[in-house]
Symmetry: C2
Subunit: 270 residues, 2 copies
């Protein structure tokens, strides 16, 4: 038996989330991936994902692992699998791992990015890939609020019901607010995330940016431990699962603060 780790990019628009929903007929990332793996290897394959993304949420670096008896060399696996996958789900990388590797439990950090288009008019090309927000935003205040969220905290106040996680304490390593022209990005790295945590923190930061909440309010909401005190969760289409971090990858943690490359930064070439 071999154990393989795959890194996936997907456009979440036409998926009902990551997690397979057997018997529902819903199109999910895991369901489509497992069907493609079965087609390629000729055996039923059960995959394990690093994180469950909701419907409409995108990924640049989702990770899954699985066991297989297929003999396909690991360096040819991505291209072979991409040959049977639909174009909105792409394998970017394949690696052989040992049997102790688990996409979810071996990870020590995850990075998400939330993308906001803060302009007068929406974008036709980005409408399923960002959250359009036309009101003025005070980015300095948002950065102050983001700093309150960094560190080791109980994030219960920034979680949605619908998960039965008991321990709601997480180490949030980095929360950056980046701005360029009409775009704002939240780049958040943590050891783990609660259900809808990024979108709820993001919605609250927009309230701060609009100067409806002072930045300290974020601290108070966090300390209260009560849900429903912050802004509403931002919509899924602005959210990207950027990267899953595993031990032994030889990288320092400086990349935790780095924003992902989402597209061709044409204008920046000049």
């Amino acid at each position: 038996m071999r154990y393989l780790k795959l890194t996936l990019e997907y456009d979440g628009t036409n998926f009902c989330g990551f997690q397979k929903q057997t018997g529902t007929g819903l199109r999910t990332v895991q369901g489509v991936l497992e069907a493609a793996l079965q087609k390629l290897t000729g055996e039923p394959v059960r995959t394990f994902g690093a994180g469950r993304t909701d419907a409409g949420v995108h990924a640049l670096g989702q990770v899954v692992h699985f066991a297989t008896q297929a003999k396909i060399p690991v360096d040819r696996f991505p291209a072979a699998l991409n040959g049977v996958l639909p174009s909105d789900l792409v394998v970017k990388k394949g690696e052989e791992v040992d049997s102790s590797f688990h996409a979810r439990y071996s990870a020590f950090a995850k990075k998400y990015c939330y993308l906001i288009l803060n302009s007068k008019h929406p974008s036709a090309l980005w409408h399923k890939r960002c959250c359009y927000f036309p009101y003025p935003l005070n980015v300095d205040l948002m950065r102050d609020a983001a700093r309150c969220l960094e560190g080791y905290h109980d994030f219960q106040a920034f979680s949605a019901a619908g998960s039965n996680v008991k321990n709601t304490t997480r180490h949030l390593f980095s929360f950056r607010v980046v701005r360029q022209r009409d775009w704002i990005g939240f780049v958040v790295t943590a050891e783990g995330f609660l259900y809808k945590m990024v979108r709820l923190m993001g919605g609250t930061l927009l309230e701060v940016g609009r100067e409806k909440f002072p930045p300290q309010r974020v601290q108070e909401i966090l300390a209260s431990g009560r849900r429903g005190q912050g802004g509403p969760a931002l919509p899924p289409q602005g959210l990207y699962l950027v990267r899953i971090y595993y031990p032994g990858e030889g990288e320092d943690t400086s990349s935790w603060k780095e924003a992902p490359e989402l597209g061709f930064p044409f204008a920046s070439l000049f």
Copy 2:
């Protein structure tokens, strides 16, 4: 009667091109726009576009003009119209013009950009917005070839049949080949373009980049005036109509060489 000029962004994926095709039931940019204008103004509106983009081709700055008796102030026109337009077609700007303005005939230059993803694996997020090309490309040779195309030439050899244009001579002001990481862009500004001219020139540049054609071959093809000598036309989804230039906009022509901002250049912030 008032005369309005609108600047449009659209995602060409789900449009059968720009031009209205009455009676066919096909969804076109012009058809959708005119229906929205009629809904907003209560009057039938006939629009005139600066350029006809093919099915699948995108626009960041298409321009149309039309006459109307509607009293809506021009600064509110974009938001009002966006309220009735679908999300893949957005009005970015509205301006009042005089009756002599014509979106097509008043233009003195047009800028297109062609976007290529030159990486080992395709992109799930960009698959309808770029051309995926996995083979190594020699960008220096492509730049040499691009320079042969700049200037005042008969571009018949780089046009497709299906248009009854008689004069195939055009002034091509600038043809830049830009590269960043896995992305390559052709940024082409000319007084006008023949049918499929950008995609045919682009397909030929890829042959040069793969070292199948020497750069001088592009010069020879151009001089031959015969179609079908160069590489095949690139697919529509990598093409963007970036900007239409009109006299009196107070800009110098240095922007002709500039690449457009297509997305959030996250990675470049660091």
